[in-house]
Assembly symmetry: C2
Homo-oligomer: 184 residues x 2
DNA sequence: TTTTTGATTTACCGATCGGTAAAATAATAT
DNA sequence: ATATTATTTTACCGATCGGTAAATCAAAAA
């Protein structure tokens, strides 16, 4: 009854998918690619996931789970005099440094749902929108006025940086740019 | 000797390609798609262009030609007391409003050349890098210090906005965000 | 008018795509 | 040991991909 070996295989496939979708776009990644990374034959993927789209949706979900956990989760400087926005920004940029994979996956397909109208893609759009709204809320909690447009601009800049080769956009500079936008 | 009807057909195909590559990614666009838009059969494309990659390269070139003409070309407020950076920014955002197609094409594939090492893609990378450098120069000509990273951030933000549905990111807000980054 | 040349289409190729059926394997339950 | 169930593989499918060869059509040259 309780699944046997399957759980580990399923997780391995999902992990392989996350890696693949972080390195190439959804359209460019083939199920064969994912199978190879997971050291598995292609049809086995379909034993655990109904379709490429569903597999991507789960990868998308896990990426956002990781992102939101680290960025909105408990901070080390909790309760200190450090501003909430500063904490958020630090965590966001740390995430960019340490978990580029998730941000890359998101960045590659964050515009896809403007053309794809299927249920899965609309679900992913919602997940993305909610994240941007949460960012807007953090900013609004201090500056008083935070347009969703500004929150979107921030996530776009961080996202773009994630697709650059490492070292191309220094986290320090990135932080500075965003803080300047926050100020007046 | 002087080409007959061909020129117009060639241009129609190239125009169709620009439209197609602006609406979907390189990998998602098929030669069949382009043929349909151009009201032409697929093999005719290969009469004028050696490959999909070469066709895309030409579309890429035209997009940058249009962009650079409008953004670095002669300005209406030339010679006025209006700062050069302001003029550039105005032109850039006007271009975003009026010629979304070019910016979309660029934005969709601006990271492709980090994985594709072919001659064509390296050429396109260079073309993109030159543009960013020109932006950096404009900024440096007034603020004195302009990191290429900041120029890149600006083009990333404008590019991201281009892929959003119209009206999602107001040009005014966008301008404001960039100006704030420019200030101190 | 006939011939030549440029332009366009029809018919097709091998490779790869996402996905399925069914057989083979491996682990558990009886 | 045997039957059952979960897991994995082999073999394949139709559709679509980028691209090619050759036939057809249309316009200019002779």
């Amino acid at each position: 009854m309780a699944t046997r070996m399957g759980n580990k295989t399923r997780q391995a496939i999902l992990e392989a998918a996350r890696e693949a979708f972080a390195s190439k776009s959804y359209a460019e990644v083939s199920m064969e690619d994912i199978a190879k990374i997971a050291h598995v034959k292609k049809p086995l993927i379909y034993y655990y996931f109904p379709s490429k789209e569903d597999l991507f949706k789960e990868a998308w979900d896990e990426a956002f789970r990781d992102l939101e956990d680290k960025v909105f989760g408990p901070k080390e400087e909790e309760g200190k005099y450090v501003r909430k926005v500063k904490q958020f920004l630090r965590a966001y940029i740390d995430f960019l440094r340490n978990d580029r994979k998730s941000l890359r996956l998101i960045e590659r397909e964050k515009n896809k749902f403007y053309s794809e109208k299927s249920k899965n893609w609309q679900y992913m759009k919602k997940r993305y929108d909610v994240f941007v709204q949460q960012v807007a809320d953090v900013i609004a909690s201090e500056t008083g006025n935070s347009s969703p447009e500004f929150a979107r601009a921030i996530t776009d800049i961080v996202g773009s940086s994630a697709l650059l080769p490492e070292g191309q956009m220094s986290p320090k500079t990135l932080e500075l740019i965003i803080i300047k936008g926050l100020k007046p």
